[in-house]
């Protein structure tokens, strides 16, 4: 007997074979995604402040998910451009958790190594590395590491800003570390195991 989750029962989906790409994304998303409810109205693409730089509007991605176009979806730059402004989420007439679906797609793209531009995934990874090392974010380390890697030529241009931030005491030169780092590490290690098993 397939595992029946609360969401799938609610959606009337009782059979294992219903697990298409759309449902896979849905199941990997925090909360109830309502992805299957999309009516392709374009509210998301219309609302998006960065739609002009996206290869696909969110709406198109959802259509592509339905069509099972896994690689094309995971290669799209769209999720990486999402700024999490939640305009689309509150306006969506079908209550699709669009921003959270974008997070899911990023994660899937990283796992499948299908992203085309590494800037964003590397930035996320660098950020996460800092947090996992110190328990807090460390802007100085993050900025230098990230810019050195991806925008080395930009660094001189950023100098005035970085210089100002440091002299004004708005960027700590040394990282801060939480006290119970071992506790946090234990939690995150367990969480990563759970993620792999799910």
């Amino acid at each position: 007997m397939p595992q029946m989750t609360d969401e799938r029962v609610r959606a009337g989906m009782n059979r294992e074979e219903d697990l298409s790409l759309l449902n896979e994304v849905s199941m990997k998303t925090a909360g109830v995604s309502h992805l299957e409810m999309c009516i392709q109205c374009g509210t998301c693409g219309g609302s998006c402040p960065v739609a002009m730089d996206m290869e696909h509007t969110p709406r198109m991605l959802f259509a592509m998910l339905r069509a099972g176009m896994r690689d094309e979806v995971l290669r799209s730059n769209t999720p990486w451009l999402c700024v999490s402004c939640y305009h689309c989420v509150v306006r969506c007439p079908q209550e699709v958790h669009i921003a959270d679906v974008m997070y899911t797609l990023k994660g899937m793209a990283i796992h499948a190594k299908l992203y085309t531009n590494a800037t964003a995934p590397h930035f996320s990874q660098t950020f996460v590395d800092m947090v996992e090392a110190y328990g807090r974010s460390y802007e100085m380390g993050l900025a230098t590491r990230h810019y050195l890697r991806h925008f080395p030529l930009r660094l001189p241009g950023m100098m005035p800003m970085g210089f100002g931030m440091i002299t004004k005491g708005r960027m700590a030169v040394m990282p801060k570390r939480i006290k119970q780092m071992d506790q946090l590490t234990a939690i995150l290690d367990r969480a990563k195991q759970l993620e792999l098993n799910s």
Binding site: Q40, G42, H87, V90, R91
Partner: protein, 681 residues
Amino acid sequence: MSDTRSNPVDKRSSPVEKKIERVGVYVCHCGSNIAGTVDVVDVAKWAGEKLKHQGVVVAREYKFMCSSLGQELIQKDIKELGLTRVVVAACSPHLHEKTFRTAAKNAGLNPYLVELASIREQVSWVHSDKTVATAKAKAVVAGAVSRVIENRPLDEIKVPINPNTLVVGGGIAGIQSALEIANAGFHVYLVEREPSIGGHMAQFDKTFPTLDCSACILTPRMVEAGTHPNITLLTWSDVVNVSGYVGNFHVTIKKKARFVNEELCTGCGICQEKCPKKVIDEVYEAGLGYRKAVYTPFAQAVPNFPVMDKENCTYFIKGTCKACEKFCPTGAIDFKQEDQLINVDVGNIVLATGYDLFDARRVSNYGYGRLPNVFTSLEFERLSNAAGPTSGNIVLRDGKTTPKNVGIIHCVGSRDKNFNNYCSVICCMQGLKFAHLVHERTGATVYNFYIDMRTAYKAYDEFYQRVLEEGTLFVRGKVAEVTNAARRESEKGKLIIQVEDTLAGKQRRIPVDMVILSSGLQPRYDAKEVGKMFGISCSTDGWFTEKHPKLDPVATMTEGIYIVGCAQGPKDIPSSVAQGAAASARVLDKILQKEVTLEPIKASVDHEKCSGCKVCNGMCPFNAIAFIEDDKVSDINPALCQGCGTCVAACPAGAISGTGFSDAQIIAQIDGLLLRNLEPA
């Protein structure tokens, strides 16, 4: 079986010796509908053997029990075998219960001694394993056999029908309904909340798809209703109380004070002219125009007597003025008039209470109420109406500028889980109509923003074609926002509509001068209370619920109460008129029958057992239970009782019993379904 499984709660099933009933069981094949999944032969054979001790004397199966041959089979057995109970294992009782009850009645058996066991909808159609399905069918039959033994003969209740009818709401649906009944020669009370009948249709300029003038086709109907000898028109009135039941409703109507004596008033209009107080007309002019404190909402109002708006009248506020009284040539102004309560008795009620426009301010990203040149659909109707505040000139809110670009947004507040889930039906056609009017009167470029274009009705899609030909630009996409924040020179001073053109797959920003929101329809703000007063329910969306969505769309679950027009759900004028007429046919059918048959499913109190605790008194939403002070017991008025059985379940003394669904019947059915009534092996 262990002791714990014996019957610890059987407090009410009758312990009295029972005579053994003679039960006939009939299992239907329904072609292959049942027989395909259920071994009907086995079920019949099993019932004949295992339920023999219960009184089953015959168990047959047949291809189609509902056919005349099938019915004759049962009738023959009733007569020849002396059956006293019948169980038909076939489809849902909602389909053929009446058929088999009538058959039994014709064979001399009380119809309420027949029970249907649903082995099609509940067994053969929903399961696929034949063994499992057959086993379940047996249990369902066993339950029905146990239950039918506890059935008691019941007599149908007949009550006379009052031939008068109440129609609530004087929009086009209510007017149509009232006229049909009145023309057939029966009396109608037509109650309208506003000063004039006419409803929303009176506010429109043109009607789709034919573009004929709304007033031209509506006013003759209004006049006819206003002058019909069989119609008592009560405008500026509210229904405040309803009691009784089908055929015999007692209704109290509050006729609000008009402060104008209708006997003396000639409708000359001088009072309106002289009244110094100007008020924004939120109802008829949708907030775009003005009226006086004493007013008739529009020139062709029916009746043509004005009403005085007490909240805004200078005399009522300050104690002086009385300009209207001074100038009235017939002395019809009467500041002392009071609200009046009128009681009427009617047999049937038609509710035509209409809709409210969705409040577009709730969609804050469309800027209505914040950005001046965003209009609602009703505002635009007034703007384009020759009798409206701008004499039909389509202009911006400054009152003079003609727009060069106009955007019409569909589905505002509809098909949206943040607001209303449903499609408001009329908005697509309305949007097309607006596009045509703007195009025709201003020559402006018109954009229509839609999710899906829904033009499904006679001559509707042809209208879509026509608007396409006229050069209206269609953009498929739900508009994300309307903003005045320009990003570039060309956008400055404009309203910018930001939308994903889903067919081009690109986000667009389209600067326009005017935005019209095709706002959806929603239930009247007080629909819930009105429903409660008339004893009918509302759907999740708030519309009145019809008895059957397809086969009984104008009747309600409460007999004698009908719903028509937008009160039942969003619809256009033709459908509203059709429903108005349909309800009249139902009402006339009832009136002509002279009496009505009621299901004998009622509760009654055994006064011997009643302890007078009054627990049941608060249980009944129909006020059927009263406490008799003299005897200190409660009593149920069978005429008011609707048979829900809540009081039966609630009575701590077990003093209330309900016919048709008695404790004994239900408990017997439980036992039967659990196969506790089988012949011991």
